[in-house]
């Protein structure tokens, strides 16, 4: 999915001493717009563009400067380098929470036009605007003759029974690189021990590790992978029209991630940031809420099996350096079997 032809942008950002690594960048709106909202985000441009376009439709005089980076890089840009952005959007709830907890974020009073769910706000600083589940993506080609597993247990059994079929064709996040992958992994372990068993099974099958959901979907589509675990359901659904894969939400439990947005303390144009934030919340919770943001797919599911990750200081626990070191150590031992 990587877009090309942004070397110029890269150079420009490099010129501004870009120590953090960006993946993508796009300018929305008129070049000569009087005001600009600068957004640093982990969401793909394709995924987020509708939101920006709907904003520009009502605010034509504003331009949006949209930069994409991985969650770890986003954290570095804000936490370590203090880059000035109006809004920071990330799927890594733990890192967003840490930004807020550590005082990098300013509070915001939503304009109140819409009723926000309690779980969607933390401390008036972190605002969730989508909820997206982690799904299992299965290659239709491989599963032509096999029963589609509905839960982790079924997946484990399937993998164990067909080691030859799946060796080298199982993929998941490299949680050492991906903040979202780490978040999903840690929350999975909180919900059930099954995660460790699955990780060990995947490790035994020479699992391939990826940095992002898009790459995993690509790999399933082109036949590199038969099974991708903990893929963002919303991304997968967006591309399901190819008919090459099936998206499964495990019935034992589905970890649901909240994509959230914060306004950093050093936002250059705070008013625009607030305007855009309210627009996002309006889209997410208002009557004209945008179903494309992954809400609709979840609505059909039983709330009981949803394991919605809660915003809050609990998320800081797995960011603890000792804890993280221990967790990664255990995970590496499980997934990289000699």
């Amino acid at each position: 999915m990587r877009e090309f032809a942004f070397s110029l942008v890269l150079m420009l950002i490099a010129h501004c001493a870009a120590a953090f690594e960006i993946e993508d960048h796009r300018w929305f709106g008129a070049d000569n717009a009087s005001q600009t909202v600068t957004i640093l985000s982990t969401a793909d441009i394709r995924f987020f563009a509708p939101m920006i376009e709907s904003f520009l439709a009502t605010n034509p005089a504003v331009a949006v400067d949209y930069t994409v980076a991985s969650s770890t890089e986003v954290m570095r840009a804000i936490h370590a380098e203090r880059r000035p952005f109006d809004l920071v959007i990330s799927s890594a709830m733990d890192l967003q929470t840490k930004l807020a907890n550590d005082g990098f974020v300013q509070r915001h009073e939503p304009d109140g036009a819409h009723v926000m769910a309690d779980w969607a706000v933390w401390n008036d600083m972190v605002f969730a605007f989508t909820q997206e589940a982690a799904a299992i993506v299965l290659s239709n080609k491989v599963f032509e003759d096999l029963a589609v597993p509905r839960s982790r247990q079924e997946l484990i059994a399937l993998l164990r029974e067909n080691p030859d079929l799946f060796r080298g064709k199982v993929g998941t996040y490299d949680i050492r690189q991906s903040g979202l992958g780490y978040l999903f992994a840690t929350q999975d372990t909180r919900a059930s021990d099954t995660y460790w068993r699955l990780t060990e099974v995947m490790g035994g099958l020479d699992a391939k590790l990826y940095c992002c959901s898009s790459d995993m979907i690509d790999a399933v589509e082109d036949g590199t992978l038969a099974v991708a675990y903990n893929v963002l359901q919303s991304y997968a659904i967006n591309r399901q029209d190819t008919g090459r894969f099936t998206v499964v939400l495990p019935s034992d439990f589905s970890t649901v991630m909240l994509r959230s947005v914060v306004i950093p303390n050093n936002a250059p144009t705070v008013e625009m940031a607030r305007l855009f934030l309210d627009h996002m919340l309006g889209q997410a919770f208002g009557p004209t809420g945008n179903a494309a943001l992954g809400q609709s797919a979840l609505d059909q599911r039983n709330e009981a099996s949803l394991h919605r990750i809660r915003l809050g200081p609990g998320l800081l626990v797995f960011l603890d350096q000792l804890k993280k070191r221990a967790f990664l150590q255990e995970w590496t031992n499980a997934i990289l079997q000699p």
């Binding site: 626990v317 000792l322 221990a326």
Partner: protein, 458 residues
């Protein structure tokens, strides 16, 4: 009478004091409730913080001589369970920083196994910090693991706001109840005073008996002074009356002797000039005695007007009495004195004063009427109240200016040769006005004067 100068009110002052005390109590209550509740809220926050810190400490393990800390998920999430809080923590192994927030201030531990609390500012917000310590055995011996956990105070602030509201409500409620009680207390305290006032106010003008009804201890001096004052007043009133009577006696007795002697002498004198001189002398004596009489009457009237009696008076009887009293004098002058109308009417007032007023009008009428004429008295009940008209067939008033006529020592301009001090009209006017009525004078179309006493209905 000058109304008493009112300065302040006991009831108001009492009420004010009680209200002030209530307000002070309410404010005190407010602060006490708030501070107690604050303490409770602080304690409960501290308890949660302590629990959190202990659960972190429980994650500390000595593995093969080195310390590892496995942060339990709930250790931090429990701090956020009710309200969103920012949470900070730090774990130190002796002087060595292990994990968490290195800059987090740590309240100093007094000894190794206690905990300590502090309120500080950290990363731009007020936080409450707890530190707990626990010694661990390592290769080098013992080392102290110190866990500090801090959280922001938004929950506590919210609790405190609620507490503050509650304390305010309690304070306000207390004040409201106290205010009602204060009102009742003030009323009940002032009640004996009200009762005393009522009992004194109910008295007639001549009732100067001491107050004998029981009064509260504190009011005894007041009532005692009041009684003394009334005693003195009674004595002084009696003295004034005695003085006037004595003065009258002293003036009139010599006059009486002179007049009587003059009459005796006149009988034996035949020379016309001498008779005329004696006549003038007697006339002068009559004049001065009448003046003295009316002066004293006027003083007495003024004295009685200050304390106007309120007895029920039958006006027709009063008219009849006055006419009968004057009839012998009118007969001397061959004047026909008659009551032409006598409607039934009663009013409230001082009968002696009213009799005096009417007597003066009748006296004037008889004095200023020629021999053989008529003086008519009529008591009628008009639309506006009873009125008594006294008509004569004399020369009438040459001057109808009542103000001037009733000035002291004024006399009608055509009254020369007739004994009178001019105080008669003044007395009549003062009396009738004290009864809420008015004196009217006028001349009859067919000649003669008409003086009327107009009463209000009472």
């Amino acid at each position: 009478m000058t109304p008493p100068v009112a300065q302040g009110s006991i009831r108001r002052r009492l009420l004010l004091l009680l209200l002030l005390v209530s307000a002070a109590m309410a404010v005190l209550l407010y602060f006490v409730v708030q501070s107690v509740a604050q303490q409770v809220a602080q304690d409960s926050q501290d308890n949660i913080l302590a629990a959190s810190a202990r659960s972190v400490m429980d994650g500390a393990r000595s593995v093969e001589g080195s310390i590892s800390v496995d942060l339990p998920y709930s250790a931090l999430s429990m701090l956020d369970s009710v309200t969103d809080e920012r949470v900070f923590y730090a774990v130190w192994l002796g002087p060595e920083f292990l994990t968490g927030y290195r800059d987090l201030p740590r309240p100093p531990l007094r000894d190794q196994s206690t905990m300590a609390f502090a309120s500080r500012e950290f990363l731009g917000e007020q936080v409450r910090i707890v530190s707990v310590g626990r010694p661990f055995a390592v290769h080098e011996g013992q080392v102290l693991v110190e866990v500090s956990v801090a959280q922001t105070l938004s929950g506590q602030r919210q609790t405190l706001t609620e507490i503050s509201h509650m304390a305010l409500a309690i304070g306000a409620g207390f004040f409201a109840i106290s205010a009602i009680l204060a009102l009742l207390v003030a009323r009940s305290t002032i009640r004996p005073l009200d009762l005393l006032t009522a009992s004194v106010a109910r008295r007639g003008p001549k009732d100067l008996r001491p107050v004998s009804a029981p009064v509260p201890h504190e009011m005894v001096p007041l009532v005692a002074s009041l009684n003394t004052l009334m005693q003195r007043l009674e004595a002084s009133l009696a003295r004034s009356e005695d003085f006037i009577a004595e003065a009258a006696h002293r003036v009139r007795t010599p006059l009486a002797i002179v007049r009587t002697k003059a009459e005796i002498i006149q009988r034996s004198v035949t020379k016309a000039e001498n008779r005329a001189a004696l006549r003038e002398m007697i006339h002068a004596i009559d004049d001065s005695s009448r003046t003295a009489g009316q002066l004293l009457d006027h003083a007495m009237v003024a004295f009685r007007l200050d304390n106007l009696a309120q007895e029920t008076i039958d006006l027709s009887a009063l008219v009849q009495d006055s006419v009968e009293r004057l009839r012998p004098i009118s007969e001397i002058k061959d004047i026909t004195l008659m009551v032409t109308a006598s409607d039934a009417a009663t009013i409230k007032g001082d009968s002696i004063l009213l009799q005096s007023a009417l007597h003066n009008l009748l006296d004037n009428a008889v004095k200023y009427s020629p021999a053989g004429s008529r003086v008519e008295v009529a008591l009628r009940c008009g639309d506006f109240g009873p009125r008594i008209d006294v008509r004569d067939t004399g020369a009438g008033f040459a001057d109808l200016d009542l103000e001037r006529l009733t000035g002291r020592f004024e006399r009608g301009t055509n009254s020369s040769g007739i004994v009178g001090s001019g105080l008669g009209l003044t007395i009549a006017k003062d009396v009738i006005e004290a009864h809420g009525g008015q004196l009217r004078i006028g001349n009859n179309p067919k000649g003669g004067a008409c003086a009327s006493l107009l009463f209000p209905w009472s």
